[in-house]
Amino acid sequence: MMRGNPLLLKEFRQRMRTRRAPLVIMGYFISMALLTFLLLYENVQGQLTLLLPARGEQVFVTLGLLQMAVVVFLTPAFAAGAVSGERERRTLSVLLTTPLSPFTILMGKVLSSSALLLLLVVVTLPLYSLVFLFGAAVPQELVGVFGFQLLTIVLVAAMSVCWSTLALRSGWSTVLSYATVTWMVLITGLFGYGLQYAATRFPIDYFLLNWGQFLLRLNPLWIEAGLAGAVPGHFARDSLWFLGFYGSITVILWVLSSGRLRPQSYAFSARFRHGDEKDFE
């Protein structure tokens, strides 16, 4: 892919050459490792003769949810200035006079800004393998949790890059990106859970239950918890619904962003292209 997208190679060079990248990866790994050992120690209560898989599962779920929350909130920090930053550094106009398509530019930005986050997820695999040794999770759960994390990172990065293209300024794109993540994690979580709780108090009110379920299906932490086996439900189907919903939003933002990058693409009518002098006058 890098051979086909020069922007991706350039972004990797720039991002990975700084000291920030290894420091972020090392700091994240050390924090997660400490937390894992702390959780494991707390779960086995200092003795290693009797291992309880149920307690190990708690560790697996906690780690998964924490990692999801961290990477979802970190992604906009790397992606929200992807295109607006180019505009502010005054490199965008030259980039736009090259024959690179808007798809190539946006894809290069999405993959390069999510690459570090993907790396963060991958470096924690050995920690999950420790939990795995305790018999706390089956391989399908591990694959599901990791796959969902990776897809969520790419989705959040794509939406942030699109906001960055549409908002013109990095400040605004950061606000919009974090508003998106806040909706995904906090608003859907709080309102979804609240409505479901209210539905237990008023069992005949399907409206509350349906809306509660609808909102929770849009929450990455809820889906993640389901995929890790912490809450009952049809989470393979729910994760598809989640990806479909945010995927559709991403497609809409992507089309608008492409138009922002290449306004010629949207000059459909001949009148717009060649103009009508009478209209102008």
Partner: protein, 313 residues
């Protein structure tokens, strides 16, 4: 070549470029001058496919900018007035990146970058980070970047802005060499003197319109004939008027506290004759001399008087 037909760009109620008709012949250099806000950058931005015209057409290298933007992009090298560079990339990596954007890879990209860096005198900075280069060096690197895909047309927006005198001279040298290579170029500036050395034709933009176009050779031919004179002498205004009103070579003059400033259309012999007449009429001249010709005001004067072709629009 570059051609525009009634090219217009409107932002709300503001008309940035108004019915621009411009032709830049193949292999020639067209200098576009005008004050800030005259519409130069918008014009170049439309030619570079960055801005969609409100109406009218523009053709670059035979491709219409709205219909075939991809072909236009393959044909042009564009240098914006205010450009930035990517941090954490070396000079060579910077050029490779843009080469790859145009599908140029491997040995060809390497050869071009070596040749171009030598050409813009940056061969010793190959491994230097781009953000560590001086402004003048970055400007020359940008020119090399524009040339990586060997475009037919170069669109340069204020290439000399923000440069020190030494860098300006170096840039002019590079532009002259590009002209010798037969590249079609359109260069904007708000300083005419800067363009007259490298351009074949000069066009002046005012309020979004092309107000005048002139060939540089014709303009320079006139600089000898139109001179600015400064005569220092203590005399009554009537004395000045009596003499100067009867000298046909004096095109215009302005009285100053210590003398008179004038535009004189004549040769050295006629200047000597003027000095003789001033002395004969009792004006005690303490200084009589020529001032450097302001090519910009000359350009305006000549086009307004119809001395030079005024074929804009």
């Amino acid at each position: 070549m570059i051609q525009t037909q009634n090219l217009t760009k409107k932002y709300g109620r503001t008309v940035a470029v108004n019915r621009l008709n411009l032709t830049v012949r193949q292999g020639t250099v067209f200098g576009l001058i005008g004050e800030n806000g005259a519409g130069k950058t918008t014009t170049l931005s439309m030619l570079a496919t960055l801005t969609v015209p409100t109406f009218g057409r523009a053709f670059v290298n035979g491709f219409e900018v709205c219909k075939h933007p991809h072909d236009v992009r393959m044909s042009i090298g564009y240098m914006p007035d205010a450009f930035g560079v990517y941090d954490d990339l070396t000079v060579t990596e910077y050029l490779y990146f843009y080469a790859e954007c145009y599908g140029i890879k491997g040995a060809l990209a390497r050869r071009r970058s070596v040749d171009l860096l030598e050409w813009v005198n940056l061969q010793n900075q190959r491994k230097t980070y781009v953000n560590a280069l001086s402004r003048g060096m970055q400007q020359r690197l940008e020119l090399a970047r524009c040339l990586m895909h060997d475009p037919q047309v170069l669109i340069l927006d204020e290439p000399a802005s923000g440069l020190d005198p030494r860098s300006r001279i170096e840039l002019r040298r590079v532009l002259r060499r590009l002209r010798e290579l037969g590249k079609t170029m359109i260069i904007s500036s708000h300083i005419l003197n800067e363009l007259s050395e490298v351009s074949d034709e000069i066009g002046m933009m005012r309020g979004g319109e092309l107000s005048a176009v002139a060939a540089v050779d014709a303009l320079l031919d006139q600089t000898g004939a139109y001179r600015r004179l400064w005569i220092q002498a203590a005399a009554e205004p009537e004395s000045w008027h009596r003499v100067l009103a009867n000298v046909p070579q004096v095109l215009e003059y302005a009285l100053r506290p210590q003398g008179v400033e004038m535009v004189f259309s004549g040769l050295e012999e006629e200047q000597a004759e003027l000095l003789k007449r001033l002395i004969q009429s009792g004006i005690a001249v303490t200084h009589f001399g020529e001032q450097p010709t302001d090519i910009e005001s000359l350009f305006l004067r000549l086009t307004e008087r119809g001395v030079l072709p005024h074929d804009a629009g």
